[in-house]
């Protein structure tokens, strides 16, 4: 029994929009999808004419749809922005090399310039090498921290004024849940912002903040966009996986849960008296950081010194251990008691 489009266009409905429960035909869906993103961009004043905007492109569904839609809207509504595709090559064989091929095809399809920055050139380490060193556990921590910075550095290389990422409503809602569960107030406040980093670092924005994953996938499917979708070969972030499964369960009961959670996240406010960690800059590389040395530098140093375990976990713990180990080192040298210590302990220092 064919269902007709709710928009009275007499065409056959092809899908149900999760947010509004409207039954739409493809033409009306494309229109609604694109208009909604356009409204998000205009209402939040995401772009200024003349700006150069780097699209964080992984080759996955979100960033592919983002690049496609932004190019389309830029032409349709004359934003006057210059789009650049920006990819990060983490150096993961069997995953990123394939997805970068997709980005290269997108570059041809959408006729946009492409810049690829690699972990290897930025940090001297590929993820494959890091995993060899630290094993399959916790490597996402390294990757996440490095990727964030890599995008910023890449954007500076192409002289972009802004970075846009394909984070969708589901991602934002997941992050709200995770930050609530972890009690991470500072991140909770930041994660719902549609634009971050306006002070100092390059601003980042998420034009898909209110766009459901289902609609992005449907859009990519029906428009036959060329995207890549394999899970990373290294174990995916387990914690996010649980938040994600929970969120999907909620969505299947009540589809509006996703925007509801985002809305709750936006409405949570922090008393003025509460002291928040201040964002300064890293004394080593100058990148934005809430500590005196940024996480990427701590991790990189630990990798280079062969102590990657130190960089994982709470920063203050790592710091305490570093301080202790420095003290130990001095004692060891001073009293020349090498023979009394286990080999391992010396290595640990």
């Amino acid at each position: 029994m064919p269902v007709t489009c709710t928009n009275d266009c007499n065409r056959r409905a092809k899908l149900k929009r999760p947010k509004t429960a409207e039954k739409l035909c493809l033409e009306c869906f494309y229109q609604a999808f694109e208009d909604e993103i356009h409204r998000t961009i205009v209402n939040n004043k995401l772009f200024q004419p003349g700006e150069s905007v780097a699209v964080g492109a992984s080759g996955g569904k979100d960033s592919t749809v983002l690049a496609y839609v932004l190019k389309l809207l830029n032409e349709r509504h004359n934003y006057g922005i210059n789009l650049v595709l920006l990819s990060v090559d983490e150096g993961i064989t069997g995953y990123r090399d394939d997805s970068l091929e997709t980005v290269k095809r997108n570059q041809q399809q959408y006729q946009l310039p492409l810049k690829i920055v690699s972990y290897e050139e930025l940090y001297g380490w590929t993820m494959d090498a890091i995993v060899q060193k630290i094993g399959m556990k916790n490597n996402c921590t390294f990757c996440g921290v490095f990727r964030r910075q890599a995008l910023d550095r890449g954007a500076m290389l192409v002289k972009a004024d802004k970075i846009v990422t394909g984070h969708n409503a589901d991602d934002v809602a997941e992050t709200v849940l995770m930050n609530v569960l972890r009690g991470d107030i500072a991140r909770l406040r930041r994660c719902t912002a549609i634009m971050t980093g306006t002070e100092g670092a390059l601003p980042r924005c998420k034009p898909f903040k209110y766009t459901y994953e289902k609609e992005i996938v449907m859009y990519a499917y029906f428009k036959k966009l060329d995207y890549f979708s394999t899970e990373c070969v290294y174990s995916p972030n387990a914690y996010r996986g649980y938040a994600r499964a929970y969120l999907k369960d909620l969505e299947s009961i009540r589809p509006s849960s996703i925007v509801d959670i985002i809305h709750s996240g936006e409405r949570m406010s922090i008393k003025k008296e509460v002291k928040m960690p201040e964002q300064g800059t890293c004394s080593k590389c100058g990148y934005i950081s809430s500590q005196s040395i940024c996480k990427a530098c701590v991790m990189l140093e630990s990798l280079n010194r062969g102590l990657p375990k130190l960089a994982i976990g709470k920063t203050h713990k790592a710091k305490v251990v570093t301080i202790c180990s420095n003290a130990f080192q001095r004692i060891i040298y001073r009293f020349k008691i090498f023979h009394e210590l286990e080999r391992d302990e010396i290595k640990f220092v």
């Binding site: 996955g60 960033s63 289902k214 499917y221 029906f222 979708s229």
Partner: protein, 122 residues
């Protein structure tokens, strides 16, 4: 994902009543989604159910059949309860199954069922 296990069984299933086709759109050229083409005549569906009554499969039956017969490992990545795991989109003849009654949809000859998982790229 679960679908990897499925694409591996294409050959084995070729002579049975359900053909699995790896989805051949250029955009979905990998294990992320898979397509089930149903082409058995109703007569043969009788053999499948074996109860002698004219019975057409619904989506619920199809999903449990896929779970029993095609998934070799980690079925929980595809099935949850009677239905697909939340987050897997189902298209029946290029239409959202939410418009067609989801699990209650009765399969027709030559229906094309497509499962798209919404994995995180990153």
């Amino acid at each position: 994902m679960a679908c990897c296990a499925i694409s591996g069984s294409i050959q084995a299933q070729y002579n049975s009543k359900v053909i699995l086709l790896p989805f051949n759109f250029q955009c979905l050229n990998n294990s992320d989604s898979f397509c089930v083409m149903l082409w058995w005549p109703l007569q043969q569906a009788l053999n499948v159910t074996g109860n002698g009554q004219a019975y057409r499969w619904d989506m619920k039956k199809l999903i449990s059949w896929i779970k029993e017969n095609l998934l070799q490992e980690r079925p929980e990545l595809f099935v949850q309860g009677d239905s697909v795991r939340p987050g897997i989109l189902v298209l029946i003849n290029e239409s959202d199954w939410e418009l067609l009654g989801e699990l209650e949809y009765h399969l027709e000859e030559n229906d094309c069922i497509l499962f798209i998982s919404t994995l995180h790229g990153g």
